[in-house]
Amino acid sequence: MSAPITEPTKVDGAGVPPQRNARKAPPRPGDKRTEGMALNVFSHGFLALWAVLIILPLLWLVLSSFKTDAQIGGSALGWPSNWQFDVFTRAWNKGIGDYFANTLIVLVFSVPLTMLLGAMAAYVLARYEFPGNRLVYYFFVGGAMFPVFLALVPLFFMVKRLDMLNTYQGLILVYVAYSLPFTVFFMHAFFRTLPTAVFEAAVLDGASHTRAFFQVMLPMAKPGLLSVGIFNVLGQWNQYILPSVLMQPQTSSDPERYVLTQGLIQLQQQQGYATDLPVLFAGVTIAMIPMLIVYLSFQRQVQAGLTSATLK
């Protein structure tokens, strides 16, 4: 190969946001090393650089919670001096704990329910012929493309009429409904690839369709369920717009049931009127670290789940 370095460089050049480009050391032209060596140095360097770009800001944010307001406003690179944990207490007292609990309560129900209903719909759509099958399928899948906030106000009234505003069950049902398109789309593809032999054997043994689904097909679809489940956990965990409309106290005596994203945005907005930036950073740190720990403990499953998602 005469000009081996150019191609991956191009790939990378297009891929890096411009302001980062400036800081990356490009491979020196005229380097006489072999292709493998040059590429190795280059790729290692670049992989490491990106890792730094991920870790550094996060670390900086955590450190910032130990700064005073004056230090935060001063130089970004100043080392924190205020090594006290009362800032975390202050942040915790802003309700971060409750926000966590609320989020968990919702997700514990909404994700399994999403998976169950999504799998049921996807299953019959994938494996049973009936008139209108395609129509229902496209009907479901089409919903994945619509931006959520289009539906906000009518949705609000719908939930209100069901008397479910600012309730966990209301938010859970809405989460499920809005996660269905994606779930059905994904599981549909998955069920189509499952072998039919086992299913037929079960039916021959006298199992009903329902039993065959729950006892044979669903367990076989476990890898697919796991990966879609991960998508749904991430998606619902990060949801902001839906709860910000549906989880507002309806009277002043109605208790606040904010989820974490809402709580954090509120914390950020409070900065607008009573400046306490360290508390904001501490709050974000508190919200961030458990997620990272959970991820680190389950990262194998996460990656395995994603792997199975692409296996056919």
């Binding site: 991956p8 980062r20 190795n40 209903l117 019959v124 479901f140 539906a151 269905l180 398109p181 990656q303």
Partner: protein, 310 residues
């Protein structure tokens, strides 16, 4: 048997369909209804104005600019994210050179896979706070702080990242890419791992370079996954609401400086809540919906290829 089957199908579809109709389809249809009214959003009173909202839309420079920005995002975010993720995935999985001519990832590939995924587990609210602090327009921002320290930027004239018309879109894109690359890295690695190793080894035996292997072997086999990634990223690019509304300049859901970072979602929200032009905002929503539909169809058509079986 056949009858029982229909009952079974109906039974399985009933609950999901009902939920979906009540909470998703019905509200969307109502939004379409609202778009023909002069609804102001603070009460349930309005009158019918026909197509006025739609006519006004096409003279609304801010909204048209927002569409343009979404299109830019739609082009750049998927391209950049996917290329970076592919590159990383390739390096992590097949970038290393094993002693006996085998194929393996670079050293520390597990570490990279874990770290790169970090941003994905952080909620957008956290990401918004983080980048707000990162892009801060004086020496207190991480970027400015670093650049000033390195002597690349004058402390008296720091870069106002989010207040520079030429930078703001790129700054926003950088956030999305930063947030997303890890996810697609893992997704693509998974797909790469499912490619039988002997294909690589055969390629290596043929004397193909890594570059060559990537473009001739890996990429075509990954095409399906890339297409999926494209659709996800496209949806993200059409949204951008949380990021734009919390990190950019301007009164009423950001979008500044001087509309240089407007996207459809935040223009819509501003009209909806801030200006009280809710019927008009719904018309924007309907246009967004149509655009999303068109783009999805186009994307799926354009990226359709013969699937390679292996």
């Amino acid at each position: 048997m056949r009858k029982g089957q229909y009952r079974f199908v109906a039974g399985f579809l009933l609950a999901p369909l009902a939920l979906y109709l009540i909470f998703v389809i019905w509200p969307y249809l109502q939004t379409i209804g609202y778009s023909f009214t002069d609804w102001k959003g603070q009460s349930q009173t309005f009158s019918f104005v026909g197509l006025d909202n739609y006519k006004a839309l096409f003279q609304d420079d801010v909204f048209l600019e927002a569409i343009w920005h979404n299109i830019l995002f739609l082009v750049f975010i998927p391209v950049i994210t996917i290329l970076l993720a592919l590159f990383f995935a390739f390096m992590v999985n097949a970038g290393g050179r094993g002693g006996a001519g085998g194929v393996q990832g670079v050293a520390g590939s597990r570490f990279y896979k874990i770290v790169y995924f970090f941003p994905q587990v952080l909620s957008l609210a956290i990401v918004a706070v983080l980048f707000g602090a990162l892009y801060r327009s004086d020496s207190g921002g991480l970027l400015n702080g670093l650049l000033i320290k390195l002597g690349l930027v004058d402390g008296n004239n720091p870069i106002e990242w989010m207040n520079e018309p030429n930078l703001v879109l790129w700054c926003l894109m950088a956030v999305v890419v930063w947030h997303g690359v890890g996810f697609y890295l893992v997704l693509f690695s998974a797909a790469m791992q499912s490619i039988p190793r002997d294909i690589y080894e055969a390629a290596l035996l043929d004397g193909a370079s890594r570059t060559h292997t990537f473009f001739r072997v890996t990429l075509p086999l990954l095409w399906d996954t890339v297409q999926t990634a494209w659709v996800y990223l496209g949806i993200i690019a059409m949204d951008m609401f949380v990021l734009v509304s919390t990190t950019t300049q301007g009164t009423g859901y950001g979008g500044g400086p001087d509309h240089h970072s407007e996207v459809m979602a935040n223009v819509m929200m501003r009209n909806f809540l801030y200006f009280g032009k809710s019927g008009y905002a719904c018309a924007m929503g309907v246009v967004m919906l149509l655009l999303t539909l068109i783009l999805s169809v186009v994307t799926l058509r354009a990226t359709r290829r013969e699937r390679i079986e292996f």
